[in-house]
Symmetry: C2
Subunit: 487 residues, 2 copies
């Protein structure tokens, strides 16, 4: 069994050292050569990690709802917040802004009606007159009247807030014992905020506020998955999807004018995977049209909603097949599941067969070696959203997240936050923390962070020209960040 | 973006089918061609799995302590128990036999003394006279006297039983909130049963009973990790390690004489990784001598104890380096950790550099692409012990176990049970259940099971000649099993 060496079989320490270095160089960012300042910052980060990893309450091992206050006081997190993270490539339209803003700003606007459903969820609508009652819902009440009658408005506001997010101070395992329960609450929460955010004036402010929060978190670019719903006005009149898309375009222009170092937003038009084939055909046609009419702002198309309960991509294959000369890039959610060998579990392969530009989540990818090879060879990046996967109960301990192994072999990926407001997160920094400290352990380093940030530009839907410009913008901010924090 | 096809870009369904088949063929057992009867049994298994997977209380998602009674009533488990599983290659000496046997049989033997430690653990000793008191322990009491005074003996016996296993009916998350707590209890439990099982007459019976339980679970061969402690007699006299090894040899001969279709046992001599370098050198010398004197029964050498708190392999590199002409195969535990980038996390690579024959656990392997490549190329199999990893808090949901991905790419591996009695398991069937249903989902099939069983012979320490014989023995049993259960 034992070979090599002269008389003793001790492994050659130099060979060992070389293999360890080889492995480190294989991870995400392992090929980057850091400059002096970066190396100093990297040493600092390593020391911080050593301190973090010996904590008995090591945050990546805990549910995010319990870990959040610990992460907030972590010096690593403080650095990550300041770090220019590039783009957020997987964020949904109505979970960009923290719910406190929704309650304290939006629900305090005039003409806001509220009702309570049979299942104790809430619904909102803005209206110039008393709206028609909703089925399975109490009569509408004007929120300002309700507040006027209340002694403790804080309780009411907290209760509304609790209805608009999954985040809770209670034990998350008790509140959400199963995937079914947490997804059900997820969908109810979504319906609860629907009436607030689809009111045209709120929609504009919400999106501007969303951009602000990502910008404050040092995110410079967004690819937003958007349902492009019909927005409504106080008199009940509505606007079409193109109007919604134009509104995104206008508000983005306004925001970049106000903040010249923000690069912009592109929209990935999404539809719920619960629709039937006929509807899907119509939606795809609409997407093609929008893409033709708004090529700058429209990046492509995707399906949303719980994969495990929804129809698989292959079910929609005809609707998703387009004439050769039609351009509609896909950005499919796929593999957000822990079922193995089911029809839904083929979504990863099918997304790739439909030439998806990226994969939303791809949690199941390591169990699909063929899909994994294709994704790697073609450079189809995974949009990894650690906190989302944990809250929606695909994984408990972040160190067991499948992306930890993928990151150790530099699989194409970006880090994103999916629905930060829903999870009590904000921007990208919390998810970067989980990826950097949880997936990476002591091994990931400043190079990993740098590569992840650069990946978010490299794997974006921007043209090569635009990427060059965005990368230059990011590089300036990065150099500043490094020189301000390396000692 | 969209290419291929004549006018529409729909992916070719035949190409898709071929890729799905390719992926299925890449998993463990994916290359095996099943005969008619095997295919019928496979269909049956698939239906069973479909029923199992829709259960709201799907066992692989739950802690084994809560899942055990559900698994017991699963028709898949009933089949797995009957299935000839080949060898158990990762089992420790003093956790082979269920604790009920220890209490009801062993502690009822005469001259059995008990004491209670400061930390409310218990200790035992057999002695012809009152033994000297232990430090930090109550005075010794003769157990038969204690029982004579008791009104409720069942309570006493249950309490003893609870001290000899980690298994509990209470909520395991509450009882064992952290790795530190569960490992501490693990070590206390081990000390508690030490005085029982190292008493020479009990030792023989314990081992024979252990073989019986594995045999009843349709395991035909064992590689037992054994500390080879000095066994004691009633008068306090002791025997040396060679005597213990000979005892294993004799009892094994007796057992195979009584059960001719049991192939045998080989011993992997183990030492706790807490020892210092000088001690380690002595132990390795002893191991070399035992291997030379008992080449048939001695398979090799390994270190045991919690990796995260112990010394890394590289610390012992001199002690583990042997002259070229000396043969001592290693079977190192490595990568039983979720720390990443620490010194202990190098154990996987170091085990391979020391030419380990197999890897105990290898839980961290997917995060180590270099080590993973070496293990694959050299055919160094992982001994995957799902329930052990879950109870010792490396993973919650079995579907997230890293071996699920490894199994989908046919990485060299065997399934074993580590310390079944400690975890309330028995033989290999519970661990096979977790691997087959949890790791494999709907995709793993009868071929997977067959390959895993054959792997346990292929990756054993048996010579090619012996493997051929063992495989023939197994094949007969397998064909019987298939024809008895395929309809
Ligand atoms: Zn999403
Ligand atoms: Zn072990």
């Amino acid at each position: 069994y034992l070979t090599g060496g002269l008389s003793m079989s001790i492994p050659d320490p130099k060979h060992r050292e070389a293999l360890i270095k080889l492995e480190t160089s294989m991870q995400t960012g392992g090929q980057l050569v850091l400059n002096d300042a970066e190396r100093r910052l990297d040493s600092l980060l390593f020391t911080m990690k050593q301190n973090e990893i010996v904590r008995p309450d090591f945050p990546p091992t805990m549910h995010f709802f319990k870990a959040r206050h610990l992460i907030r006081t972590s010096p690593i997190f403080t650095l990550l917040k300041k770090m220019p993270k590039g783009g957020a490539l997987h964020v949904h339209d109505f979970s960009m802004v923290d719910v406190e803003w929704l309650v304290k700003n939006v629900t305090y606007r005039s003409q806001c009606y509220i009702c309570v459903t049979d299942k104790q969820s809430i619904r909102f609508i803005f209206s110039s007159q008393l709206p028609k009652p909703l089925p399975h819902c109490s009569p509408w009440t004007l929120l300002e009247n309700l507040r006027a009658k209340m002694i403790n408005i804080t309780d009411l506001d907290n209760s509304i807030m609790g209805n608009l997010t999954l985040f809770t101070d209670e034990d998350p395992e008790t509140v959400y014992p199963s995937q079914d329960v947490v997804w059900d609450r997820f969908e109810q929460t979504f319906l609860a905020l629907w009436g607030l955010v689809t009111y045209a004036p709120v929609f504009r402010d919400y999106y501007y506020q969303g951009l602000t929060q990502f910008y404050m978190d040092n995110v410079m670019y967004l690819e937003l998955r958007a349902l492009l719903p019909e927005l409504y006005e106080l008199d009940g009149s509505t606007h079409d999807a193109a109007w919604t898309l134009k509104t995104y375009q206008n508000v983005t222009r306004q925001f970049t004018a106000d903040h010249p170092d923000f690069y912009g937003t592109r929209i990935i038009f999404t539809v719920h995977r619960g629709v039937n084939i006929t509807t899907m055909k119509g939606v795809v046609e609409k997407a093609v049209k929008l893409r033709r009419d708004f090529p700058d702002v429209m990046a492509g198309f995707d399906l949303v909603g719980r994969e495990d309960r929804g129809r698989p991509l292959w079910y929609f294959r005809e609707a998703l097949s387009l004439p050769k000369n039609v351009i509609l890039p896909f950005f499919f959610h796929a593999g957000e599941t822990d079922l193995e060998g089911t029809e839904v579990d083929q979504n990863l392969l099918d997304a790739l067969l439909f030439n998806t530009s990226r994969i939303g989540h791809g949690f199941a990818l390591p169990r699909h070696p063929v899909a994994k090879n294709i994704s790697r060879k073609r450079g189809v990046a995974l949009e990894v959203c650690p906190i989302s996967n944990q809250v929606l109960k695909l994984v408990n301990d972040m160190r067991n997240h499948p992306a930890a192994a993928l990151m150790s072999e530099n699989h194409p990926m970006v880090i994103s936050s999916d629905d930060p407001a829903m999870f009590g997160a904000c921007g990208l920094s919390y998810d970067f923390y989980e990826a950097f400290v949880g997936f990476g352990g002591l091994r990931s380093n400043l190079g990993t962070l740098k590569q992840l940030a650069m990946n978010s530009i490299k794997y974006s839907s921007l043209t090569p020209e635009q990427q060059k410009k965005a990368l230059a913008l990011w590089q300036r901010r990065w150099d500043e960040f490094v020189s301000n924090n390396a000692f």
